[in-house]
């Protein structure tokens, strides 16, 4: 790369651990069996002038603040804090994929001992809303109701039984008598869009649906230049179609919500959410209660991954607390978590690309049909992201992106880590690999000929924002080349050419190994939309309260934001007391989504801390009896000539000195920037030709994240993303009966990777010091997941010559593909 201000850091996994032992069986190609040394962390020298070398707290792998509570078993999640005597509410769920509720008889349920309330569409207000955790006005249709007289998927809400305890609530649900008029259902989005398909949202009061009669939630069409002219001028045109499927977040903690009235009769909601402020607003709306009468608290949560960027239970729980005056617990059981919360959006994607003879892209077109399930939450924005995150990666004078988002009578698709980008990149990076092979070109060379570069403008960003026009985006930091180099070296053999021929095998060997790669870019927050606030409050002992709306899902954001504050204030991590995600006490933050926390919430924290430091500088100036303009700040001391005042002393004197005050500063940050992190993934797979089983034997994910505020926590994000990506590619799949019922809604039958299903995932951090980022940071929460599936698909091709275009690559599918190819 030509960029001059790039710092590069090699960060391999933790030092000092035992050598990895290879456990695979006989290997093709005579690969050595010497145990692979786990390399120690290694930091490259940073260029002079960069502030990085003087960082004391940021860029250190300090302990996550809550790890001690967690290992003691003292960490408290929502379900651990239920007051004695709380009611338990259970949702009766539809057995039909599409039906009208003709009547619900509730008397028998009410007669069950312990049942105190039964809710149906007949005794609950009918207010259309979207449960999507997005800024207002939400770019999702208002097509949901707390309870409706229609059900639109197997698992949809029918009624709610509120009782003294879980067994009584379950008996109450069984005692409800529901008369359904079963309607024809549709499960394929293309069929749903065709004339004559059953209309899933025929209610007159839904708004924001593009064409409900056609089951069309949204259509996105973006053009840059003229692709048809581009195709005509091209020497080669390639077109391929891919498909991606239904998977679920599978957080270890299913959705859970506690709601109660405090002594002022305000509704308090303690809930496993990524979006406390959006929850407050949405709950206020559907319950017709002022926002000021609601407080939402996010305690520790057991994973989110986008599934908790939604109102799933809070609307009902608040309603019940209001109606009964008593605390109520609502939770999803594991099967409900699968089919009655949220999922990823399935899509069918066609890519058509025109290139010159020497492999330069002249026209690039992506067309897709997405299945958003029975309700349109995130339907427009996830699919927008499919185009806006993937297409800018390769320069093309002519671009076209078209997406149709359709309802079906299947579980609700919503936000899920990557938010449309994993879908788009599966198609794009497989497609590029296919083109390279057709052109007999090195797949890396093909990428390099077309890759976006430092200084480039993303041509599609202005047209694809959060459901509306976006903002121009210029690449100001780009470490993709380092990522490619590091990741390709890390899987051994130094294969920089992913197009190497399949490893030669022994004549009797029925396993093949292959290597594949994929690359991507992502974003850091939603430009012009993600807003974050932070408050820093001084305490007399030189500690500081950091109040942030930002939402820690177990990601460690509390810790890294505290690290940033400590760095600015010249104190240690122990001096920062973090309180987050409480709508009464912490400033507004949109929540944990779009990889915004480090970049957007982080900048708000830095600014609030800087503001506090300025006020303390004034106190120090008074103490030293000098002009405030003469006071410098270095390594925890305010200095003027030979005089100095420690920040702790300034803090104490701010309270008890001559001018007594409470220094407390709030900053809020909104930016039109969303600098892309970059990532490269190299994967080695072993394919069993007799069973179709694919094993990932080695995988390396490298990411240019700007700067790692806490390298170990950043590695955690990479590791989790890669493991989710491997599940997406190989083993995870929601299966449905012909009647639309999920048939594998359990952790036995839905295959989340276990410790035996994953290799020793290698993580590599590249730091490019993004100019607009706090301490140079961009983001790392989602990007690495984007390209695991195509890297594996390309590796399978390298190993077997067979091209897999439809996820997931279960043994059966691979086996069939091998047979068709004559293996």
């Amino acid at each position: 790369m030509a960029g001059t201000k790039q710092t590069k850091t090699l960060t391999k996994r933790a030092a000092g651990t035992k050598r990895a032992r290879r456990e695979a069986g006989p290997r093709a190609g005579g690969r050595d069996t010497v145990p692979r040394e786990r390399r120690t962390a290694d930091r490259a020298r940073v260029p002079s002038g960069a502030k990085a070398s003087r960082l004391r707290v940021v860029s250190k792998s300090l302990r996550k603040l809550d790890n001690e509570a967690i290992v003691r078993g003292e960490a408290r999640y929502t379900g651990d804090m239920v007051p004695a005597g709380a009611l338990y509410a259970k949702i009766l769920r539809s057995p039909h994929a599409h039906a009208r509720i003709k009547s619900i008889k509730i008397d028998a349920a009410l007669a069950i001992p312990g049942v105190v309330l039964v809710l149906t569409h007949e005794n609950i207000p009918r207010i259309p809303y979207t449960p999507a955790g997005q800024n207002f006005p939400e770019p999702s249709p208002y097509d949901a109701f707390m309870l409706d007289d229609k059900v639109r998927f197997v698992g949809d809400r029918v009624a709610v039984v509120v009782a003294q305890d879980e067994p009584a609530a379950a008996l109450g649900c069984q005692a409800l008598v529901v008369d359904y008029e079963v309607l024809p259902a549709v499960f394929d989005p293309i069929e749903a869009l065709a004339p004559g398909a059953p209309v899933i949202h025929d209610e007159p009061d839904a708004t924001g649906v593009l064409d409900a009669q056609r089951n069309l939630v949204a259509r996105i069409e973006v053009d840059v230049g003229d692709v048809e002219a581009g195709f005509r001028a091209a020497d080669h045109v390639f077109e391929h179609t891919y498909s991606v499927h239904y998977v679920q977040h599978v957080p270890m903690e299913p959705h859970v919500t506690l709601a109660y009235l405090d002594e002022d009769r305000r509704i308090v909601i303690v809930t496993a959410t990524q979006v406390p402020f959006h929850v407050r607003r949405i709950v206020a709306r559907v319950n017709q209660v002022p926002i000021s009468r609601i407080r939402v608290i996010k305690p520790r949560i057991g994973g989110g991954f986008g599934g908790k960027q939604e109102v799933v239970l809070e609307d009902l729980a608040a309603h019940i607390a209001l109606r009964t005056g008593r605390p109520v617990l609502m939770e999803l059981k594991r099967d409900e978590e699968f089919f009655a919360s949220r999922t990823r959006h399935p899509q069918v994607i066609t890519l058509k690309t025109g290139l010159t003879r020497d492999g330069r892209i002249v026209a690039n077109e992506m067309r897709l049909v997405a299945n958003t399930g029975a309700y349109g939450t995130h339907g427009l924005t996830v699919q927008s992201n499919t185009g806006s995150k993937s297409l800018p990666l390769y320069r093309a004078p002519n671009l076209r992106f078209v997406a149709d988002v359709a309802y079906t009578n299947l579980p609700i698709a919503g936000a899920m880590r990557g938010y449309g980008a994993p879908q788009g990149y599966f198609a794009l990076e497989c497609h590029m690999d296919e083109i390279a092979h057709a052109l007999r070109m090195d797949p890396l060379e093909l990428r390099r000929k077309n890759l976006i570069r430092l200084g480039d403008t993303d041509p599609i960003a202005t047209q694809l924002g959060e459901g509306k026009a976006g903002f121009a985006r210029v690449v100001r930091s780009c470490g993709i080349e380092e990522c490619i180099k590091l990741a390709s070296r890390a899987i051994g053999g130094g294969a920089t050419s992913g197009g190497a021929t399949a490893k030669p095998s022994q004549p009797f060997e029925r396993k093949r190994r292959g290597v594949g790669f994929a690359i991507c870019m992502h974003g850091s927050g939603i430009a012009g939309d993600d807003v974050a606030g932070a408050t820093v409050k001084v305490n007399e002992d030189g500690s500081f309260n950091l109040l942030i709306g930002a939402t820690d899902l177990g990601t460690g954001s509390d810790t890294i934001l505290a690290q940033m504050a400590a760095e600015v204030l010249g104190v240690t991590l122990d001096d920062i007391i973090v309180h987050s995600s409480d709508t009464d006490y912490t400033p507004f933050d949109v929540g944990a989504y779009a990889s915004s926390t480090t970049y957007v919430s982080g900048t708000a924290v830095v600014r609030a801390a800087e503001q506090v430091r300025e006020k303390l500088r004034q106190v120090a100036a008074e103490l030293m009896d000098v002009e405030v303009g003469r006071v410098a700040f270095k390594e925890s001391f305010f200095t003027a000539g030979t005089k100095r005042v420690h920040v702790r002393e300034a803090a104490l004197k701010s309270f008890y000195g001559e001018t007594k005050q409470q220094i407390i500063e709030t900053a809020s940050f909104l930016t039109l920037d969303s600098p892309p992190p970059f990532s490269a993934c190299f994967a080695e797979v072993e394919v069993d030709l007799d069973t179709g089983a694919v094993k990932v034997t080695d995988i390396a994910s490298a990411v240019d994240l700007g700067r790692a505020i806490n390298p170990k926590l950043a590695e955690g994000q990479i590791l989790g993303s890669v493991s989710m990506g491997i599940g997406y590619a190989l083993t995870e799949e929601m299966l449905f009966s012909p009647m639309g019922k999920m048939t594998n809604a359990s952790l036995m039958e839905y295959k989340v990777p276990t410790s035996l299903d994953l290799p020793e995932i290698k993580t590599l951090i590249v730091e490019t010091d993004e100019p607009s980022g706090p301490f140079g940071a961009k983001s790392v929460g989602e990007i690495c997941l984007d390209i695991i599936a195509p890297a594996i698909a390309n590796a399978i091709f390298n190993a077997t010559g067979v091209r897999m275009r439809h996820l997931p690559f279960t043994p059966e599918r691979v086996w069939r593909a091998l047979r068709e190819a004559g293996s």
Binding site: K18, D66, G303, G554, G556, T754
Partner: protein
């Protein structure tokens, strides 16, 4: 009314015939025992029963009578962290932390029976504990670290 021995203390508790050990433990205040799948498939509810890891969500409470139960709360004596707990912190293993109690107890059982496990043996031992956040790498690192630290004692 049954008598349970939990973390070396005796508890007398009224249980329903169909109540699981998970429900009873959590009802007694052992909130570190996590509820996740309630079908014995994920390991979040792992406790040690006579030193062996079991899924408390599919064990009926009365089946644990007369046997010794260890939960994550029973790991640290005098509020000091054990070597295993320290190792998990040092290796930066927990993310959301929901799988961690189960992982810790599985680790206790593993290292009691195999003080020098290979990474492959560790992965085998924790294969009944699902983690969605971490890809298991740092958890395996933590367990290796813990094994080393225990051997040094």
């Amino acid at each position: 009314m049954i008598e349970l021995s939990i973390n070396d203390k005796a508890y007398r508790v009224e249980v329903q015939p169909g109540e699981t050990l998970l429900e009873v433990l959590r009802g007694l205040g052992f909130k570190g025992v996590k509820k996740s799948c309630e079908t014995g498939n994920c390991g979040a509810c792992t406790v040690l029963l006579d030193s062996r890891p079991v899924a408390s969500c599919i064990l009926l409470a009365f089946q644990a009578e007369g046997r010794s139960i260890t939960t994550v709360e029973g790991l640290s004596q005098d509020h000091r962290l054990t070597a295993i707990q320290e190792a998990f912190i040092e290796a930066s293993a927990p993310q959301c932390g929901y799988c961690t109690p189960g992982m810790l107890l599985t680790t206790v059982a593993l290292l009691a029976q195999n003080p020098e496990p290979t990474r492959a043996e560790i992965r085998e031992a924790i294969s009944g504990n699902i983690c969605r956040c971490s890809g298991y790498v740092k958890i395996v690192d933590a367990i290796e670290r813990a094994a080393r630290s225990l051997r040094l004692k």
